[in-house]
């Protein structure tokens, strides 16, 4: 019974139709949650004891950073599934993730810099967190560049999958190694972005934003997925009906 569901997800026409149907179910709740989060974060949450109103950047920075990591993980898992079980749809998911993840990594870096300047006195710091986020951006760009450079779509899928998987190995290494680097060099202390005991009025909007952005990711993914699925089919008959609409 459960396997039928799984098998259907490997079928391009099924996924294409499903993606179209599901998109509004993620897009509208995402919009509501994000607006609610914005309202809570900008209006209702009290100013921070140390950072004043400036801390409100967290409501765009934390979701962006979360997205950058979550999307990469999704991309790598989908790529692995596609590579191991040779499922085209999985490759399509991975390909759809990359531009989304890259753009939010960029947002995370910029919003982080804008937060850093008033709080740390500098837009940029070569500390572990920022450096590894920048590297993540390069991993995304490398993945997209590799895919773009290979003409054969199947080869592009599989080569990209190898890269995405190898890149995942890199992420904990980077985190780990720069921690050691930090302790060896005794770099300046990094400000903790996650307050252990955030009051509910501050925490709730943050959670709303995180959830809202996650749903937004799924909605955008579904839109991109349809295009990716189409581009992997040659002249399959199901397409005629699907694209005529």
């Amino acid at each position: 019974m459960t396997w039928t569901w799984f098998h259907r997800l490997g079928s391009p026409p099924y996924v294409y139709a499903l993606a179209a149907r599901l998109t509004p179910w993620f897009a509208w709740p995402a919009a509501v949650l994000i607006l609610a989060g914005l309202w809570g974060g900008l209006m209702l949450a009290p100013p921070d004891y140390q950072q004043g109103e400036g801390f409100r950047i967290i409501y765009v920075h934390a979701p962006s950073a979360w997205m950058s990591l979550m999307v990469y993980t999704t991309m790598a898992v989908a790529a692995a599934v596609g590579l191991i079980w040779r499922i085209k749809v999985a490759h399509a998911v991975a390909a759809s993730c990359a531009p989304i993840g890259a753009s939010f990594t960029f947002a995370a870096l910029v919003t982080g810099a804008l937060w850093g300047e008033p709080m740390w006195g500098t837009y940029w710091e070569w500390d572990p967190r920022l450096t590894s986020e920048l590297i993540l951006l390069f991993l995304y760009l490398g993945y997209m560049g590799l895919r773009a450079g290979i003409e054969d779509p199947q080869r592009a899928d599989r080569a990209g999958a190898v890269l995405a998987i190898v890149g995942v190995v890199n992420v904990p290494i980077i985190h780990y190694s720069v921690t050691w680097w930090n302790s060896l060099h005794q770099a300046p202390s990094v400000m903790s972005l996650a307050k252990p005991k955030m009051p509910l009025s501050m925490l709730t909007p943050l959670l709303l934003m995180l959830l809202g952005f996650t749903l937004f990711f799924v909605a955008v993914l579904l839109v991109r997925l349809r295009g990716e699925v189409l581009s992997r089919e040659r002249t399959a008959s199901w397409m005629r009906e699907a694209v005529a609409r």
């Binding site: 004043g52 109103e53 839109v223 189409l230």
Partner: protein, 54 residues
């Protein structure tokens, strides 16, 4: 209202941060939809070409 916009003096950082994030959100929507439209057009083109041949 002006207090809100001033963001306790951090306006020059807070609002650009929100603007950039908003821009990325909009970019994602627009970009995804454009890519889908392009894929649809490409698929229609491919189907019409192969249709003519058959």
């Amino acid at each position: 209202m002006s207090d809100f916009l001033a963001m306790g003096g951090y306006a020059a950082f807070v609002w650009p941060a929100y603007a950039v994030t908003f821009a990325v959100v909009v970019l994602n929507i627009v970009w995804a939809r454009r890519t889908l439209a392009r894929s649809l057009a490409e698929a229609r083109r491919r189907l019409s070409v192969s249709g003519e041949r058959s």
